[in-house]
């Protein structure tokens, strides 16, 4: 059971870190609104499942497009004008924080609206769990299987897209040098828009899966964003594959670490769960600021250098 808990959380966190890193490597700014994107996903699920009374799984594609749309709006109305005005990266980052505040407030307005309008049905959207609406296969919860399949599919598709399609290659070119890429005929604007839409969609999906296994509320965003930072930085923030590994490691160590610590020290430690990703973040920045990707790159560099040495 613990293992399922841990893998579930790692799956969700990996979806978050992939998106966060993708935005970071293309737009070169950390998107602080990323955590609240997941919160929108959570409440899309709530609407679909509790208010419309449909299967909660239907909300996964819906939140992908809804939250992707929100992220795209953010790009077109805030980020792109500012990039054109040659705003500094700090200014851009502050707007993402402003976006986080706005989304969080709007979601809370929506929660209060539901509570007022559907008061007779006794709906309680402040914090909720939809585990009972899930199905099971071979004693495994359905959401575990679905999220695992999703994360494998996303990884494979991303890999295929980045290596085999023209758009993926254009994207990698933009990452390397956006000006040069635009000279070579890459539509940088399209790449940028995609780098906001897809992460938004992935975060929305992660959020919409969450209530099927974890207690979901509007504060989730401000906690999960810190785990996302930790995962992305552990992975090296410069590569999507690093983000996948980092997200998985942080997700697993957060859940298993809390379980291990509450068994050995006492259950009071669970309240301090957030300190685990914080410690990972601090330690990574101290000893391995380039993350795993940097480690692998250094190893590759050394190998190439030693081979060159042999030839001499």
């Amino acid at each position: 059971m613990y293992i399922i808990d841990a893998i579930m959380y790692a799956n969700l966190l990996t979806m978050m870190t992939i998106g966060f890193t993708l935005t970071y490597i293309i737009a070169k700014i950390p998107n602080f609104a990323h955590g609240t994107f997941a919160v929108i996903g959570i409440y899309v699920t709530y609407t679909v499942s509790e208010i419309w009374g449909l299967n909660p799984y239907l909300s996964i594609p819906l939140s992908f497009f809804v939250v992707g749309g929100v992220a795209l709006t953010q790009y077109f109305f805030i980020i792109r004008p500012l990039i054109k005005m040659k705003a500094t990266r700090i200014s851009l980052t502050i707007t993402t924080i402003a976006m986080e505040i706005i989304i969080f407030a709007v979601v809370n307005v929506y929660i209060e609206y539901i509570r007022k309008v559907y008061a007779a049905q006794g709906l309680y959207p402040v914090a909720f769990l939809l585990k009972r609406k899930d199905f099971t296969i071979f004693n495994l919860p359905g959401v575990f299987i679905v999220s695992s399949i999703l994360i494998i599919t996303i990884t494979t598709l991303l890999y295929l897209m980045l290596t085999k399609t023209k758009f993926g290659i254009a994207m990698r070119a933009t990452v390397e040098d956006s000006e040069l890429a635009s000279v070579m005929g890459v539509d940088v604007n399209k790449v940028n828009a995609f780098a906001w839409f897809l992460p938004g969609g992935l975060a929305g999906m992660a959020g919409s899966i969450m209530p099927l296994w974890f207690q979901a509320h509007s504060q989730v965003g401000s906690y999960i964003i810190i785990s996302t930072f930790a995962g992305s930085i552990l992975g090296g923030i410069s590569s999507i594959y690093g983000a996948i590994i980092g997200g998985f490691i942080v997700g697993l160590s957060e859940t298993l670490g809390v379980i291990f610590l509450s068994d050995t020290i006492g259950s009071w430690i669970t309240a301090y769960r957030l300190l685990i990703p914080l410690t990972i973040l601090a330690v990574t920045l101290l000893i391995l600021p380039k993350g795993f990707t940097g480690l692998i790159e250094d190893y590759m560099d050394k190998r190439i250098l030693s081979k060159l040495g042999e030839r001499k």
Partner: protein, 352 residues
């Protein structure tokens, strides 16, 4: 209560909150406006000041007066504070002694936390530092709300009224003390930024590589700025808890204690202390006004005013960054003291 008293009370609140937020926004200006360190963890310094006041002042007073040794500080808090207030009401020296100790310890704690929070990422690019600082702010809040012996966790602790000896005038005396502290902090930072150190941090903000090339230890300077800035910001936490007379750990949210001061700074103008001051006063006035009209407002809208306030906060941040990134009062080149530009200019002209 007649209308005159109401107005006095409103004005007192306005002055008090202005002083609290002036300290926050001016110390943020020192860190971000002058030194270019984007401190999105301002919350942790302010919370450090408030938690120190909540955890230390009462216990210290208990030890100082030797009372309540058989009582639990958190559980019997109200009883203890009542006893302390009656002791403090005829002991001016004790009150001032406790105030000074609290301020000193809070500043020390703020400086240490500033060091801990910035140390892992201070050598790296600013966005790493930003993530670290935001995470640190959350961490301090989580420790505060969960570690009960500190400030009562989800409960709250009361703070003894250190100005109880002034009797009925104590609300006024507290506010006067707050204004004096805010003025001192303001001028302290003004003096720093017009000193050679101020030129150094501005040089660092503009061109870090060049500053390193001139033989300056940028990492050390940044750590000093973070420590000084957050020890000053912790003062606003101390003042806030003394003013409200209590510390509620969960009240220290990112929105209230990081993003509002940021908006004040961005409205007023980064790199300009007077701008930060005006920004703080205008935003605080607007927010106090909202409290007055809150009830009429909530009758119209079907949701609480808090969320509307937050949406406006976010929109204002975006608006100012897009349309007026330099703020209302843009940064001016400061004149270093001891250099007379008129003389230099006339000398050059004479040579020609």
């Amino acid at each position: 209560m007649n209308s005159l008293e109401l107005i006095t009370l409103g004005l007192l609140g306005l002055i008090a909150y202005s002083s609290i937020y002036i300290i926050a926004s001016v110390s943020l200006n020192f860190q971000f406006g002058y030194a270019g360190i984007p401190n999105f963890g301002l919350l942790f310094s302010i919370a450090a000041g408030a938690y120190t006041t909540g955890a230390l002042t009462g216990r210290l007073a208990m030890w100082y007066y030797g009372i309540g040794n058989d009582l639990d500080y958190i559980m019997d808090n109200t009883k203890i504070i009542t006893m302390l207030n009656s002791k403090l009401s005829n002991d001016p020296l004790g009150g001032i002694f406790l105030l000074l100790i609290t301020i000193l310890v809070a500043m020390l704690v703020g400086a240490i936390l500033g060091f801990i929070a910035s140390f892992p990422a201070i050598r790296l690019r600013e966005d790493y530092l930003l993530m670290m600082l935001i995470a640190m702010g959350e961490a301090v809040r989580i420790i505060g709300t969960n570690y009960t012996p500190l400030v009562g966790g989800t409960l709250w602790v009361n703070v003894p009224n250190l100005f109880a000896w002034t009797g009925l005038y104590s609300p006024y005396v507290i506010v006067i003390m707050m204004v004096i502290t805010a003025i001192l902090v303001f001028f302290f930072i003004q003096v720093i930024v017009s000193s050679p150190f101020g030129r150094l941090i501005r040089a660092m903000r503009e061109e870090e590589t060049a500053t390193v090339f001139l033989g300056k230890n940028v990492v050390k300077v940044k750590i000093i700025v973070m420590m000084v800035g957050s020890s000053l910001a912790s003062l606003s936490g101390v003042l806030f808890s003394l003013y409200t007379g209590s510390v509620i750990a969960s009240g220290f949210t990112r929105v209230d204690w990081t993003f509002w001061p940021w908006l004040m700074l961005l409205i007023g103008g980064k790199g300009n202390n007077i701008g930060a001051l005006i920004g703080a006063i205008s935003v605080v006035s607007a927010r106090r006004l909202v409290i007055f009209i809150k009830h009429d407002f909530e009758a119209i809208f079907p949701f609480s005013v808090v969320w509307l306030e937050q949406i406006l906060l976010g929109l204002a941040l975006i608006f100012f960054i897009i349309f007026r990134p330099q703020g209302l009062l843009p940064e001016k080149p400061t004149k270093p003291r001891g250099i007379n530009y008129k003389d230099i200019a006339s000398n050059i002209l004479k040579k020609k």
